[in-house]
């Protein structure tokens, strides 16, 4: 008898405590993939900033590229009784069970940046960018910039077969289709890296009459663009003038290049996935408002008109 | 080509050649039901080749195998096994991570409704093993039991599978005395059941304790098959080593009085489990011949002297000064050289040229930076190729293309180039042709005359007698006797090697 009473009391206290915590702001668990890229590091720091801004207590877990670590972290969050969980899933499959556990514990889960192959009722919403749109925005910028002039484009692709490479290529091609003055003359993979971007661009420059025939370079990410810019300079041409440079991601170094007049445009893949996620969560907690299932972040275009030096300074500290 | 009517397994005219090397030459052997038949011979005698042929692991070049009078040929060990020939090796070849009963029944599990009937399997396994005096939990992993138990399980499996001929290849090598006794009981029981048992061992005591007949092979040839009651230990040793007492030893080349001062002095120098503490003085200008059967500790002593193994007791002094030998490098620094028993494995650098092989030890002594120029190397190599009459088309030929005898001379040249004081030669004439053989014996004598100290290990007793100033006989990992002067003859050496077993019998 006595024991049961004590248990009941404990449960009552626990309920009280959690209610009090909710009143002071939510506690949110965040299972991050790792820190495999600068963008990922920036996402982590922006998420922390966003949480702090809103008075949310963030519990952070780095999965070091392993799904098992993520599942462990999520179970830990459930055991701790957090109010919500953010997950940037390292792979798309194998989430049903652990997401089911979260649902059973009535903890809403928000997916960041990548989707999963699981029934949609297992998570509240997912926040991600639209990669096809990113490519399209880059393409539209080029179409607008060159007008009717003929323009031979060289493309530095991401890793062969990767989703962003496929989507960003598709979006760009959609944007330039119907503009026969713009053609993709060469397209090779630079593996999303600076070194390979530089090497591939060196090859393109040799193959296209020392670069004189190239009107623009489109890179699937800024890192490859930065490498490509160096190659263009080494070939004695002026990046940004002799060859237009447009890329995707909006990392600090591309703003530095833009400030130096060596890059012309970048499309932002925002590291701020957590902002919209927290907005949705707060609305949901407050009055149970179901957010949209797929929240698409903005794919904002930046050009030298957007104060690149200022953007560089603002982003430098984010861990890119 | 006698036809043994009682033989279960009879092999006639077995010949097997590897390349140009004849491993077995026209060997006849027959195993009878209800006998334990010991197969003896030193390394390279052809025992394992014969066993591999009888169990289907090797094909034979010539000869016939009859099982129960029917001519058979095995393409694989599985066929031999199915026809009734089971083998148990020294290293138990079962599956240590599976249970005892799985090991007994793997591939032939009792089934019930198409599924493995584990209950029945357990019951039967228990019954089978109790027949071997073994009462153990057959559901436990095999690896949880001692080697002796594993050995018995292996025997039980082999008998159950085959049941006519059981070949035991050095089954007692890693067993203690009580375990050996237990194993012998089992073997006697199997013999009583009418199995033919082939027993391979190096221990003469065990041969006489267990066997009914013994067959000796030497250099791939059948020396003879005898009933154990018709033969004594000394005769067996003679058969194994190929010594005829009637053959008188050659002249004794070195009188002990001629030898120089002490170069290497061993006091209680030994390594537990390998070599019992040794006391020996080795003088300049003397050849110490080392005789003993395989496993007597002769190679182990050489390894200890050269620092391949490190002694854990006693002292060694070189030129009157205490020395520490923890590696071949230490030994080389003291002016030692070593021609190992296994030339191919430990001696030659097969792909490197004769020149490089010859200069290697000298260059190792000089170190990384004082490199011999190519001209210097050519000169050194050329000198020794001439001095030792190394037959090679060119000093630049990869040494692996040379004959065994010439390879041995290259290794010898390698050490002579370092101007050594003390050479250890382990079986320097094994597996080399007659001509090169004689030359190496001559070189040994010449080096002794030049004042080198030499320790020469050899199974060729005639040879040992011909060049040794003294002969050390090893037995059971210790020096059993030292023979001087007139005692240095083949008969005396053979007696000394065999004597221990005679003593043990008394």
């Amino acid at each position: 008898m006595n024991r049961i009473f004590k248990l009941a009391l404990c449960a009552g206290v626990a309920t009280l405590v959690s209610t009090a915590a909710m009143a002071a702001g939510m506690t949110v668990g965040f299972s991050q993939i790792g820190s495999e890229s600068g963008w990922r590091a920036a996402e982590t720091s922006v998420t922390k900033q966003e949480a702090e801004k809103r008075g949310i207590t963030l519990k952070f877990a780095d999965a070091q590229q392993k799904q098992e670590n993520q599942i462990k972290a999520i179970r830990g969050f459930i055991a701790q009784g957090v109010d919500a969980i953010l997950v940037a899933p390292v792979v798309a499959t194998g989430w049903e069970e652990v997401l089911g556990e979260a649902k059973e514990a009535e903890i809403p889960v928000v997916l960041l940046d990548r989707g999963v192959e699981a029934p949609q009722d297992l998570y509240l919403t997912s926040v991600a960018s639209d990669q096809v749109k990113e490519g399209r925005v880059a393409g539209e910028w080029l179409v607008k910039t060159v007008g009717d002039k003929p323009c031979k484009v060289v493309e530095l692709q991401g890793t062969v077969g990767s989703t962003p490479a496929i989507n960003r290529k598709k979006g760009f091609e959609e944007a330039i289709s119907g503009h026969s003055n713009i053609t993709i003359a060469r397209s090779q993979t630079g593996d999303f890296t600076r070194a390979k971007g530089k090497e591939v661009m060196e090859g393109f420059l040799k193959a296209e009459n020392g670069g004189k025939d190239i009107c623009a370079m489109y890179a699937h990410n800024d890192d490859m663009a930065v490498g490509g810019i160096q190659a263009i300079k080494d070939a004695g041409l002026k990046p940004g003038k002799d060859i237009l440079v447009v890329s995707i991601d909006a990392v600090p170094d591309i703003f530095a290049a833009m400030a130096a007049g060596e890059a012309n445009a970048t499309v932002e893949l925002t590291p701020n996935m957590a902002g919209p996620a927290f907005d949705a969560l707060e609305a949901f907690k407050k009055d149970g408002k179901q957010p949209e299932k797929f929240i698409i972040t903005e794919s904002k275009l930046y050009t030298p008109a957007d104060n690149p030096q200022g953007e560089y300074e603002a982003r430098k500290g984010l861990g890119y | 080509m006698t036809n043994d009517q009682r033989a279960v397994l009879q092999a006639t005219g077995i010949t097997k050649t590897f390349g140009s090397h004849a491993a077995l030459k026209n060997v006849d052997i027959a195993f009878q039901a209800g006998e334990v038949h010991a197969l003896l011979g030193e390394n390279g005698a052809g025992k394992s080749t014969l066993i591999k042929i009888l169990t289907g692991a090797y094909s034979l070049d010539q000869g016939t195998i009859r099982l129960d009078g029917e001519e058979v040929s095995f393409a694989t060990p599985l066929q031999a096994q199915a026809l009734g020939i089971g083998t148990v090796y020294q290293e138990v070849n079962l599956l240590p991570n599976m249970t005892v009963m799985d090991n007994l029944y793997i591939g032939r599990q009792p089934r019930r409704f198409g599924l493995v009937d584990r209950k029945r399997m357990e019951r039967e396994a228990r019954a089978v093993l109790s027949g071997y005096g073994l009462d153990i939990d057959v559901r436990a992993d095999l690896s949880t039991f001692s080697v002796a138990v594993q050995q018995i399980v292996a025997i039980a499996r082999a008998v159950a599978l085959s049941g006519k001929v059981l070949i035991l290849d050095e089954p007692t090598a890693s067993l203690d005395a009580a375990e050996v006794e237990k194993l012998f009981d089992i073997v006697r029981r199997l013999k009583a059941r009418g199995l033919a048992i082939v027993f391979i061992t190096h221990f003469l005591d065990q041969v006489f304790a267990l066997s009914d007949r013994v067959t000796v092979l030497r250099n791939g040839q059948l020396i003879g098959t005898r009933a154990i009651s018709d033969i004594n230990r000394t005769e067996v040793v003679k058969m194994m080593l190929g010594k005829d007492l009637a053959l008188h030893h050659g002249e004794i080349l070195a009188e002990e009085s001629e030898v120089g001062e002490t170069l290497v002095s061993l006091r209680d120098y030994g390594l537990k489990g390998r070599v019992e503490p040794i006391n020996l003085d080795i003088h300049r200008g003397e050849v110490i011949g080392v005789a003993g059967l395989l496993g007597s500790g002769r190679t182990e002593m050489a390894r200890l002297l050269f620092g391949i193994d490190t002694a854990d007791s006693g002292r060694i002094a070189v030129d009157g000064r205490d020395a520490t030998i923890r590696s071949p490098r230490d030994a080389v620094a003291l002016g030692f050289g070593f021609c190992p028993e296994d030339r191919k494995l430990d001696g030659i650098f097969g792909d490197l040229s004769v020149r490089e092989n010859i200069v290697m030890a000298m260059q190792a002594r000089l170190g990384w930076f004082r490199a011999l120029t190519r001209d210097e190397q050519m000169e050194i190599a050329g000198n020794y190729i001439e001095a030792l009459d190394i037959r090679t088309a060119s000093a630049e030929l990869p040494v692996k293309l040379l004959s065994g005898g010439n390879q041995q001379k290259v290794i010898l040249a390698r050490w002579l180039a370092t101007d050594p004081r003390f050479l250890i030669l382990d079986e320097p004439t094994r597996g080399i042709d007659v001509g090169a053989h004689a030359e190496i014996v001559r070189v040994i004598s010449r080096l002794r005359e030049d004042g080198l100290a030499l320790v020469v290990i050899s199974s060729e007793l005639d040879e040992v007698v011909s060049y040794s100033s003294r002969v050390v006989v090893m037995r059971d990992r210790a020096i059993a006797a030292e023979l001087h002067g007139a005692d240095i003859n083949v008969a005396r050496i053979v007696e000394t090697i065999a004597s221990h077993h005679a003593e043990a019998e008394q």
Partner: protein, 335 residues
Amino acid sequence: MRAQSLSHLFSHQVIALAGVLLINWMVFPGFFDVTWKDGRLFGSLIDVINRGAPVAILAIGMTPIIATRGVDLSVGAVMAVAGAVAATFTVAGHPLVVTLAAALAVAIACGLWNGLLIAFLGIQPFVATLVLMVAGRGLAQLITEGSIVTFSDPALIFIGTGSLLGLPMPAVIALLLMLGAHLFVRRTAMGLFIEAIGTNRSAATYTGLRSRSLILAIYAFGGFCAGVAGIIAAADIRGADANNAGLWLELDAILAVVIGGTSLLGGRFSIPLSVLGAIIIQAMNTGILVSGFPPEFNLIVKAGVIMIILILQSARLGEIVAAIRTKNPLGRKTP
């Protein structure tokens, strides 16, 4: 005999390189155009030696290792570590000498670590170096905190992008390193000892060779080479990219050594031929870039060409060809 067999090998690599270059010229006629631009040579051929330099340098270090029957899988990761150290040091304001010394010291330490595991603890080289292959990249990420550490010290950048007598610095460094290493192993007894250990480790020990120290030394040298390659790779892009610098280059380096005729089973080796192997690989890479093939074919084309090269230099094929020539198939004795 030896000179003969080496010249025999040499011809294989030269033929392979000539073949690859010829194909490059066929798919891109401007391949051999070299012009003088801003005080340096400019052209696809120059790209080949410039881009091939890091792998060539790795191959210089990998050759003695493979010749002793070892392998170093960690060189790519060590490149990343060295690049990360160099970048953080230069960003922290240290002078070039200190930066280079620190990066190379860390790289050599990595090599020594591998050598210790292999020579003294007797761990299989494949496993021992796998440890650092994984951990090294993690270490590099730790140093750079996951981001690309960019720098602007012109002296450091010069190592990756400058030129000497019109030739790109990386190529100059690779060439000097190759000559230095080659002369060192052949003028000292090192080369002989390495080949001895690779041919028969047991016999080497019995002969009184210091096998362990030698193995330690060559893994340290492998680390040093990886360090040099890492500094070049970082200087080339003016930043240390811990995630991608040197990624999978250990495999290219091993391939270069194998194309160069050193057997994975140890023994005879040639550093210049390994460098030639690296150049062959890069000639192929550059050829693919200028050819305009879709990138989906990159790996297949590469694999195909490498297969042809390796088949051409296989000993067995030589025997078969010789047998066919003497009309005595597969060397069977005629009755």
